[in-house]
């Protein structure tokens, strides 16, 4: 993981995503299970994150992820083209989630210290 100026804990691959970092994380997490096309991604993300990505936002993030080599299109005869995670994408997601977990653990720890176990 690269720690950028200003303390941004996102890995380098996520640094250019700006407001697409959220959708990108969701898409990569969904593709970690296996290749999926647009609608399958929408439904899967809705199921595990309770977030429904609108089609425009979904494809903006897909386009960015593809141009950075984090995902790739799978050859298919179907008009619904599936995408899959690349090795670089898997590594970027791993680093990103590890960083998120570190923050989540720290936050929970501090909450427990000041506010009780809850």
């Amino acid at each position: 993981m690269t720690k950028r100026e200003g303390g941004d804990p996102r890995p380098e691959q996520f640094s250019g995503f700006g407001r697409y970092a959220g959708p990108a994380t969701l898409i990569l997490s969904s593709l970690a299970e296996g290749p999926k096309h647009g609608y399958a991604l929408t439904k899967d993300i809705e199921r595990f994150a309770d977030v429904r990505l609108a089609p425009g936002t979904m494809y903006e993030a897909l386009s960015r992820l593809e141009s950075q080599g984090l995902i790739e299109a799978v050859e298919s005869d179907d008009r619904r083209r599936p995408y899959r995670l690349t090795a670089m994408g898997a590594e970027a997601l791993r680093s990103h989630l590890a960083a998120q977990r570190k923050i989540a653990d720290l936050g929970l720890q501090r909450l427990a210290g000041s506010w009780g176990a809850g």
Partner: protein
Amino acid sequence: MREGTRHRAARLLLWYPREWRARYGEEFIELLVAELDERPRSLRRSVDLARSGLTARVAAAGLGGQPLDTEGSGRRSLATLAAALSIFSVVAVALWAQLTIGWQWAPPATRATSLAMVLMSLAILVVGAICLLAIAPVAWLAVRSINARWRHLLGPIGLVLGGLAVLVVGTHHFANGWPGTRGHPWADQGMVPGGVAAYAWASTLFVTSYWLHPTALAQFPGGEVAWMLVSPVAVAALIVGATRIVRRVDLSPRVVRFERRLGLLAAVTTTIFLTGAALWVVDGGPGPRNLFHIGSIDVVELAALAFLVLVTGRAAGRVTAGKPPVAPA
């Protein structure tokens, strides 16, 4: 039902630029069809599609964001810069011509409007010089490479020459009807030569609010109305042709750097023009016989100019050498 949904999805796809549709169109329609089947109406989805489609168009024009063709993005910026500066020139000349007519009859009553006119006149002069300097190397390279790339350059060159011919002939003819004619008992000397002002007026006669007043427009001589219909087509041909040449001709990195510098200078100069125009609008243009009167079209033009200044600056800052983004047809 399914066919109707597919048509609706295809219509929604039109928010996106052509190259985006070529790359993602088919699969995106599939996603939209599934979405529309599940939720036929969704304001959030409509807004999201409009926003992301326009964002993709901004990126495709080389104005920022994530373009699909990163290598050709710098050249797209140059083409957008050329288009923005051309449209700016048309609107600016239309606005300036209106004021020069006023000054032919009498000078403005306030220093603010006089200063505005001086700023606008100087800026227009510099923008004109910038345009000529920017056109020269591109035109030279287009002519030089016409043998090798005639299939790609012939159409745009035809558009430019055709548009230019119509504009020159028509402007020359209609400049005779210029309302700033000297010799009137209360005519002033004006601030620019009458011929220049008359040509500026005749070439931009179509930029007028008379389009919203058809009864008044019907009182105009038929030839003049025909010219008001033909001249914007000629201007559009000129701009489209020039933009296509910029996208298709092979420009060396040195020429691109030169164009970029001119673009940055144009961004500053257009800002000066905008400042002058805003000064006039804020001042309210007081003067004898309502000669510098502000109309709602002037406010609309000012807003359009502000937008074009933004586009010019943004595009100029992103111009880089790169392969021509348009694949040979």
